[in-house]
Amino acid sequence: MIEMQDVYKTYRNGVTAANGLNIKIDAGEFLYVVGPSGAGKSTFIKMMYREVRPTSGTITINGVNLSKLRDSKVPLLRRNIGVVFQDFKLLNTLNVYENVAFALEVIEEQPSYIKKRVMETLELVGLKNKARMLPTELSGGEQQRVSIARSIVNAPKVVIADEPTGNLDPDTSWDIMNVFEEINMRGTTIVMATHNKDIVNTIKHRVVAIEGGRIARDQQKGDYGYEA
């Protein structure tokens, strides 16, 4: 499903954030990406949706070789990948419903399909009754649910999350994890960078530890492995 072969990335300032990455992620897997700050977790994740292009090496997603992918085809790639961030990235002038619908409107889906899909998705993340509220009227956890809803509304095969619980308190973080579990249960592959030791050690999944741009550890049902 996702495969990296000898992937290197050196930024223009000379920092090498990926230093020979090799990994294979199967369809339906749930993968934690852990490691110290500045280790290259975000770079690893950004290369998957081609926000960052590797200096060398091959990345394949759903059989598509990203280095051979033309710029004009990148939007099509992204329609198959959902992305969630620590800071939610919602549009504060739009309500919950509109924020989620936005993702389908800008890829020019049919209005009737948009309505149906958005309501289904809001139900899945537990926000059906708050559809008319603005992001500023919601708690952090609820805002992150909106952001997750937006990432999965187009039914992508993969959801990539970069520290999705980084801004949330522990209780809310567990709620958000349950949403990801639910999505994974329905067959979607999940790649999640996180610093949350309790969650990684409790909800057991494959753990990949990145240190200095290299994969230092790759463990099925692994531990967080660092002091909090």
Binding site: R50, S72, P75, K89, A103, V106, I107, E108
Partner: protein, 275 residues
């Protein structure tokens, strides 16, 4: 900022319009005069009939010569007497002993070649004098060329200014909608979909900026035509007629406005859509 960019287009196109009207009319005058440009070659009195025919043949062979007409000195005298009216009667005395020369009247294919052809003819045998436009035509051409170049440089500079102002205006809209664009790219909107509203904004700014110049130049030309044209009636010079000239000019201005606007918008969006 919006006002500034629209005014920049307005000022630019106003100058383009005025410049265009003047250049086209000057060109028109020049073309009218060009048609009258001829070279008159006075044949030396010492030349006999054979020499004269040889000279005519030589001139005809020259590159760039369109027509060569022979005008014998008797006809030249008749023309002179006729052109002077009653005062010309005095010259009738000369009919017995004509002091004028035989003349070859030459027209060139390209009026701008006149000077060159004239110089070549001067070197031929049995040529007394060569006369042509006396430098006035050349001066007019020079003036037209210089003003054309100055005007073009000015307009190109203004076009760039207008384009940059429009591109800056749009950049402000883009920055205000930065997060929206970021999300659109994230969820897989195509670049053309993202670009479209900014493309339209640039187009509107450009077209909006072309309206005042079109109205101003059209009405100014209409009034100027009404005032100037009657005064030129007696001369061989003419202004270009209002219809269809002004409509064509308006079309050019609106297209230029739209082009500046679109160009500005594409310039400003490009950077934000780099992968």
């Amino acid at each position: 900022m919006t006002f500034a960019s629209v005014s920049a287009v307005t000022v630019t196109l106003l100058l383009v319009g005025v410049f265009f009207v003047i250049m086209m009319n000057l060109n028109n005058v020049a073309t009218t005069i060009e048609e009258d440009v001829e070279i008159r070659v006075h044949v030396d009195v010492a030349a006999n009939e054979q020499d004269r025919e040889a000279l005519g043949e030589q001139i005809t062979q020259l590159a760039g010569v369109k027509t060569v007409q022979f005008s014998p000195k008797d006809k030249e005298l008749d023309n002179l007497i006729e052109s002077l009216g009653t005062e010309g009667e005095a010259f009738k005395l000369f009919e017995q002993d004509n002091p004028l020369n035989d003349v070859f009247v030459i027209k060139t294919t390209e009026p701008t070649d006149t000077m060159e052809v004239a110089e070549e003819i001067e070197a031929f045998n049995y040529v007394a004098t060569v006369k042509y436009g006396q430098g006035k035509i050349e001066q007019l051409f020079k003036i037209i060329n210089v003003s054309r170049n100055v005007g073009l440089a000015l307009i190109v500079g203004l076009l760039f200014t207008a384009m940059f102002l429009i591109s800056n205006t749009i950049k402000i809209t883009i920055v205000a909608r930065r997060r929206e664009i970021e999300i659109m790219r994230l969820v897989g909107a195509t670049n053309s979909f993202i670009r479209w509203p900014f493309f339209l904004e640039g187009l509107w700014l450009g077209i909006l900026g072309s309206l005042v110049p079109i109205a101003a130049v059209s009405s100014a030309y209409y009034y100027a035509y009404g005032i100037i044209e009657p005064k030129l009636k007696d001369h061989f010079i003419q202004l270009i007629e209002f219809d269809p000239f002004v409509y064509q000019l308006s079309a050019i201005l609106i297209i230029m406005g739209a082009a500046i606007g679109i160009w500005g918008s594409l310039m400003s969006v490009r950077k934000f859509l780099k992968v």
